[in-house]
Homo-oligomer: 331 residues x 2
């Protein structure tokens, strides 16, 4: 049997476990051109919260009763596409489920000799590529710049900080709680870590960024970002990657306000989606792979076992309970 | 005697006439290297509101008792700098006063044969150059783009819309009240005008920009901008020129909020100051001058006579009472 997690209800504010359903169905057989994949690891990411709600965005919402969207790395079990053979490791948008059918064109082979399968879901996958294109293409830091990352201990943030260091920058991370903040400097090579839950962020930023913030890689948004904006340097660049502080708000806030700081600092703020860089993923994977091989990118995984626990792990991640990249081990 | 307007008190919220003082003093004589200028026209601009308050910004605040900051075009009366002779027309930051002493290096000669003196304070002056560099360098519209301008009937906005048309774009202006909105299409060549005071702005934008907003030239900020952001096209560019809706707020608002739209539309938002382009003013003046000579840029001036009425004219402009570029005729 194939166990899958579907969307049972549209959440109001923070999702609850009752917004999800665990359903079982027979494992399907591949038709012509299709590949049957047994999932090994499922990636859980903040963007999924957006898909649970209706409303205009860059992607269609998940329908009620539909399997939750998610990227999976797995192993080919049966294939009616000659490009794939049983035993191949592949990655694709296969959803929150143990088995999935996919068209061959929707899968990408991954080389488990370069990195273990789950790494293709983070450092060499979407979150690593998000950090890569957001920093290299959107923020474009120069050597010697001070780069501040919010959500710095998360899947994207941990790579963004290490990439900033690899580009000759000073990296300052902001995360929630002493454990994550310790990881910033001890695991991910940040020059300084700030605990937004425990520290006076403005004072800590002032101390950690005496020349101001040249680049801000924002995963969080809201009041925390407002504090960072006050400490920008002239000519600052802001890559808007995520706004996790906003995803579970039930009341839309009147916004945006006080964007005059963009004038004062002649700052550039730019949003991006990693999917727009799909034609350059090989470039990103090659560079991230080289840094990984050199030990210049390290990572931490936060692993939950069993598809049935995916909703709780996802809810925890949205509340910041994860320490590193959130993964569900499927098999 | 020289009549001058000084800052008497720091305003709370909207400035009042009692925040200004009219003082008289003898007309000074120029010392070595100095030039005495008799002001002809004074420019009134929203940025002056910022100088009246204390607090960190891109320029130092005006001190209490100091003459108000402002650009003036005038005529040289006496000169101890051999580059200037009596009768020359010059422009400079001479302040709200009828006569001013300046170092020769702080003045720029203007050619009254190319355009009448007051035009060097707007289309061929700071506000025209602000529109030019904000549009050409910051927003960078492409032919066929839909360009929305807020504060579209103001000194910067009227030039921005006509420049957008000259660059092959569709121009949509937003202004307050039926008279200004009529000027948008009848005087300044906008394809459509929206009255933010009388229209349903979201519906009007939807009708005027069926393909979405590719470029937003923002002079206003606040809730109006929020409405524009909802109608952006993918890959939109926002030049943040001014935030006049925010300048008279006494309570700082928590901000910014809901910047997720930058991700959804992969939009770029960038602030700028015209003073950063000082090395390229000649380029801007040459291009604006050519469009003016061709009749492709038209303008409207809102003239008040007498330095003693400058405070009332300034207060009115901040409330949107002006129709076109706000000027004070000094002599």
């Amino acid at each position: 049997m194939n166990r899958r997690v579907t969307l049972a209800a549209r959440p109001e504010g923070h999702p609850r476990e009752s917004d999800f359903a665990l359903v079982e169905e027979p494992v399907p057989d591949p038709g012509p051109g299709e590949v049957l994949v047994r999932g090994l690891w499922l990636s859980l990411d903040p963007y999924m919260r957006g898909r649970m709600s209706e409303g205009r965005s860059y992607a269609k919402p998940t329908e009620l009763g539909e399997v939750m969207t998610g990227q999976v790395v797995g192993e080919v079990v049966a294939s009616e596409d000659r490009r794939f053979a049983p035993g191949d490791h592949v990655v694709g948008q296969l959803g929150w489920q143990e088995y999935a059918l996919a068209r061959g064109g929707a899968l990408r082979k991954v080389d488990a000799r370069i990195a273990p399968p789950p790494v293709w879901l983070h450092v060499l996958g979407t979150t690593g590529l998000t950090a890569y294109f957001g920093l290299v293409d959107v923020a474009r830091p120069k050597p010697g710049d001070t780069v501040v990352v919010s959500g710095a201990a998360g899947a994207v943030g941990q790579v963004a900080g290490q990439l900033a260091k690899a580009m000759g920058c000073r990296a300052v991370g902001i995360a929630g709680g002493p454990e994550k903040v310790r990881d910033l400097t001890e695991e991910y090579g940040y020059d300084a870590g700030i605990d937004y839950k425990g520290d006076d962020v403005n004072a800590a930023l002032k101390a950690a960024c005496p020349q101001g913030v040249d680049v801000y890689f924002d995963n969080v948004g809201g009041a925390l970002s407002e504090t960072v904006f006050r400490r920008l340097a002239t000519g600052a660049r802001i890559a808007v990657c995520g706004q996790i502080s906003q995803y579970n708000l039930t009341e839309p806030e009147l916004a945006p306000r006080n964007l005059g700081f963009l004038i004062v600092f002649r700052a550039r703020m730019e949003g991006f989606l990693v999917s727009d860089y799909a034609h350059r993923f090989e470039e990103g994977i090659r560079r991230l792979g080289a840094l990984l091989a050199d030990g210049r990118i390290r990572y931490r995984e936060d692993v939950t076992e069993g598809i049935e626990h995916a909703p709780a792990a996802f809810i925890g991640m949205l509340r910041g309970a994860n320490r590193g990249k959130t993964l569900v081990k499927l098999a």
